[in-house]
């Protein structure tokens, strides 16, 4: 491939390429390799505690060591292995399957990856800060708070911060994938027509967008309990008495609600991509279209929606009331029905087709069998009375490993399936089959005995001597499973050199678009703009595209093509830039598509240093404090560099965009992000409502809030924000009219009002911190009680949003002063979307925290 073609991207053999690349295929490969690393990390921990469990008692790791190993194993596998592994495929395959040349925001995609990597590094570092988190992967309160964590607890704080970083990566990724899938499908490709794997990813990212926002809320609150000293998840506040919950009765249930509101969708987030791989492999290796494809899709959509209303089946043994348990038992049983349909669809596809037992198919079939066992045992748990018995036992452990690791099984199938596409080489089929055989035996030997020994209490290293034989079997199974993975690593590694050339499509009957291009595909994927307009895949050349887009306008280049550098500010290119001499696919504006940026790496590195510093600031140590400061500055600087960097990611000139036809990609990205922000704030406000209900809604105000906390500062701030919102729309009007003065003045006014808001808030807080009343002799600060915690943290999060908005606003004012935005107000509009949202949030915070 020529230099001109690679757009400044070094060759794959060069190390620097992998730090610079923003190309979806490179990033897919990075995800796959990194995720496999975390699989080994989490797997070794598991082997350690399986060794521990050969006999009862903690004679190998010690009790705290055991708890750490179990907790971090769960976190690593659920967060750092399985979803990122699936998103390696998603990155690589989805753009190819839908006919896009990359994701909508390539640099954000790289940023997601680096944030993910560094969050994992932070997780690793936590092991060296005394002890890491030891309270179980579900991180139940109050064991997740410093008062209940042995030692200084800095490692635990790092884990919480690592999860926050991971969640940031996921949120950016969701926004990116949704924008891509709704703005960049090849012409003629309706949503329902996209290949089933891409469809499964689409639903996965929808769930991620909302579920991870709730997790983010939970984690931010927890981090604040750790670092700032709020008391959401603590029972007692004075540090002397721990056992009473009188002053914050909602503490432990609040965590459970937030966590499981995320947690149940999460299990489908883990499983859906695997389901997509299974469906894809079943189709290819039976040579048949999925039987009842339409119903399969409808079922997936139903499950994705329903997944948000079953979470309390994880809370049957808590103090929630019986009516709500019953409702959630019903929804849980309801959600298993669409799953049955999908399972039958896969089975019929197999029955009707002619099966070829290749390695990917074997893994898919194995995954299906394991999933059926896991699903059936899950239905047991969904029944309240049965769960009273099973909760907290190895039945649960066996159940979720059968379902989750079934998902991993399918994904290993996916690795074999797409390996020839990614590398251009064929793996060794015999070794692949041997891997499957050993894997399947090891898996069942590991997890099936857990059903038999279900009376073993979960997360505890002591168990009854009668059960020892089963645990010994499980340990042996664990080592067999681990060994089987070595076969895969060996096979895939050696085949890079010794494998036969795979050709474009090594699998007969594979029909999705990734198989229509070479292996590996060229940097920009397709030899032209893909279209399905006449029923099958073909490519339009420059002349064709120019002809199609020049006349009608409509959704063509002239209207909204080639607009925004991702994350940056809009700039318009026109169709006229296409030159007949350029290669066929280098159509309008695409000529300058960029593929390299170093900033995403730097932003993430800065974030890593900042978070590591934050984990220890409460000790006051100079090292930690300066790391936090330096890291924060570096992150900010790198973000600024990224904004200034010219980076071009053109929109497709012709594409299928239902149902967001007229929503330009930056705007859609912004709205998608705001939707997740709604859930974040919603979860904060919901937490406030929950702890207040738990305390007693009416007593709250009287018992916990000083009379000095008055309405006036809130009302003034409401006026300030409303006025600033008004000025933003005026800035838009001025920019449309090409009034440079007007635009600059309105933006400067917005900035001034926002600063006024923060100053007013600062004064108010200062006052409240230092009141001396009979009820609050030491002031009313973050740690005083649960009401002060909710007040400062929720309005503080809002204040942080205002601050970020002000930074952007200052930058835009400066640019407007220099003549930007005249005649093109889109950048102001997108900033406005954010700013108005922050305004809207305040419209609810004001009455809830100042009046009611």
């Amino acid at each position: 491939m020529s230099d001109a073609h690679d757009h400044g991207l070094p060759p794959k053999s060069s190390v620097s390429r992998w730090f610079l690349t923003t190309n979806h295929k490179d990033i897919g490969v990075l995800y796959l390799i990194t995720a496999l690393f975390f699989l080994v990390f989490g797997g070794l921990l598991a082997l350690l505690f399986r060794l521990e469990l050969i006999t009862p008692g903690a004679d190998l790791l010690g009790s705290l060591g055991y708890n750490q190993a179990v907790s971090t194993h769960g976190l690593l596998m659920v967060f750092w292995f399985i979803s990122p592994f699936a998103f390696g495929f998603a990155n690589y395959v989805v753009p190819l399957q839908i006919g896009a040349d990359d994701l909508a925001f390539p640099r954000l995609n790289a940023l997601s990856y680096w944030l993910y990597l560094f969050s994992g590094v932070l997780m690793g570092v936590s092991f060296f800060q005394g002890t890491t988190f030891a309270g179980g992967w579900t991180m139940y309160a109050p064991l997740n708070t410093p008062a209940y964590i042995p030692g200084e607890g800095l490692g635990a704080t790092s884990v919480v911060l690592a999860l926050i970083m991971f969640t940031a990566a996921v949120t950016l990724g969701s926004v990116n994938f949704l924008t891509t899938m709704y703005r960049m499908r090849a012409e003629g490709l309706r949503m329902r027509d996209i290949p089933i794997f891409s469809l499964s990813i689409n639903l996965t990212v929808w769930m991620m967008l909302f579920a991870f926002a709730a997790l983010l809320a939970a984690l931010m609150i927890l981090a604040s309990d750790h670092i700032l000293g709020t008391t959401y998840f603590q029972f007692a506040n004075d540090g002397s008495t721990l056992a009473t919950d009188a002053d914050n009765p909602g503490a432990s249930l609040l965590w459970a609600h937030l966590f499981w509101f995320f947690g149940h969708p999460e299990v489908y987030i883990v499983f859906f991509p695997a389901l997509g791989v299974m469906a894809e492999c079943f189709q290819t290796f039976t040579g048949r279209r999925l039987v009842g494809r339409k119903w399969f899709i409808i079922s997936m959509v139903l499950v994705a929606i329903q997944s948000f209303v079953v979470w309390m089946h994880h809370m049957f043994l808590t103090g929630i009331n019986l009516p709500i348990k019953t409702i959630f038992m019903a929804t849980t049983i309801g959600i298993s029905l669409p799953f049955d349909l999908m399972v039958f669809s896969l089975i019929y596809t197999m029955a009707k087709g002619r099966v070829r037992f290749t390695t990917p198919f074997l893994f898919s079939l194995g995954a299906l069998i394991l999933f059926i066992v896991g699903g059936i045992t899950g239905v047991f748990l969904g029944a309240i009375v049965l769960d009273y018995q099973f909760r907290g036992t190895y039945w649960v452990v066996a159940h979720f490993h059968y379902v989750m690791v079934s998902g991993a099984t399918a994904l290993f199938g996916g690795l074999y399936y797409w390996y020839p596409k990614i590398t251009g080489k064929m793996y060794d089929e015999t070794l692949g089959k041997i891997h499957f055989a050993v894997y399947f035996v090891g898996f069942n030997l590991l997890y099936f005995p857990m059903f038999v020994a279900w009376e073993t209490p979960r997360r505890v290293f002591e168990y009854s001597r009668d059960l020892q034989i089963w645990h010994s079997m499980a340990t042996v199974g664990g080592f067999i499973l681990g060994a089987s993975m070595l076969i895969m690593f060996y096979n895939l590694f050696v085949s890079l050199w010794r494998g036969e050339d795979a050709g474009d499509n090594p699998w007969d009957y594979a029909t999705t678009a990734e198989w229509a291009v070479s292996s590996p595909p060229p940097l920009e994927n397709f030899p032209g703009v893909p279209t399905y307009a006449d029923g099958s895949l073909s490519f339009m050349d420059d002349a064709e595209v120019a002809r199609r887009t020049s006349g009608s306008g409509g959704s063509g280049v002239a209207a909204d093509g080639g607009t925004a550098a991702d994350g940056g500010t809009a700039s318009v290119t026109t169709a006229a830039t296409a030159t007949p001499a350029s290669p066929a696919h280098e159509t309008a504006g695409e000529e300058h598509a960029s593929h390299a940026s170093f900033w995403p790496f730097l932003v993430s590195l800065g974030g890593f240093v900042a978070f590591l510093g934050l984990s220890g600031v409460r000790t006051g140590s100079v090292v930690y404090v300066s790391m936090a400061a330096v890291g924060g500055l570096a992150t900010f600087g790198a973000l600024f560099g990224m904004t200034r960097e010219p980076f071009h990611a053109p929109e497709m000139p012709i594409a299928e965009r239902w149902p967001f036809d007229s929503v330009e990609k930056m705007k859609l990205g912004m709205w998608t992000f705001l939707a997740s922000d709604i859930v974040l704030f919603g979860a904060f406000i919901g937490s406030y409502a929950f702890v207040r209900v738990a305390y007693g809604w009416s007593e709250w105000h009287h018992d916990l809030i000083p009379a000095e906390h008055v309405t006036m500062p809130g009302l003034i701030n409401t006026y300030l924000l409303l006025t600033s919102s008004f000025l933003v729309v005026l800035a838009m009007v001025a920019a449309e009219r090409e009034s440079k003065k007007g635009t600059t003045a309105a933006l400067a006014g917005t900035f001034a009002l926002g600063v006024g808001f923060l100053v007013n808030k600062g004064l108010e807080w200062q006052h409240l911190f230092h009141i001396h009343t009979e009820m609050f002799p030491n002031g009313w600060n973050l740690s005083t009680n649960i009401a002060s915690s909710t007040f400062y943290l929720t309005t503080g999060l809002h204040g942080a949003h205002v601050t970020i908005g002000l930074v952007i606003c200052a930058y835009m004012t400066y640019r407007a002063w220099n003549g930007a935005y005249q005649g093109d107000d889109r950048a102001i509009e997108y900033f406005g979307l954010y700013w108005h949202f922050v305004d809207i949030v305040w419209l609810f915070l004001f009455p809830l925290f100042y009046i009611l």
Binding site: F308, I320, I324, Y719, L730, E829, D839, F846
Partner: protein, 88 residues
């Protein structure tokens, strides 16, 4: 929308915010808490819808963008309502 339209919206928002405070200053929060609660929350919702529809231009976007926003809102409300109900 031109600046006149935006100004009308601004005035309405301003008046509603003031009305919320008046409800409190008039003592309604103390005398009839849940009535005051209802009035104030409804005012907030109306203001929010106004900002979203006009300042954020949802009125002029395809309906699908509104559904996206509603999706997030419903999720947050479901969490809040069900969690609160589970302990009463």
């Amino acid at each position: 929308m031109d600046w006149k339209g935006y100004t009308v919206i601004y005035v309405v928002l301003f008046v509603f915010a003031t009305a919320q405070a008046v409800v409190e200053f008039a003592g309604l929060v103390d005398s009839a808490y849940w009535v005051a609660f209802g009035v104030i929350m409804v005012l907030s919702v109306v203001k929010a819808v106004g900002v979203a529809a006009y300042y954020q231009h949802l009125r002029w976007e395809p309906r699908s963008v509104t559904y996206l926003v509603l999706g997030g809102t419903v999720a947050a409300l479901a969490l809040t309502a069900a969690a609160a109900y589970s302990i009463v």
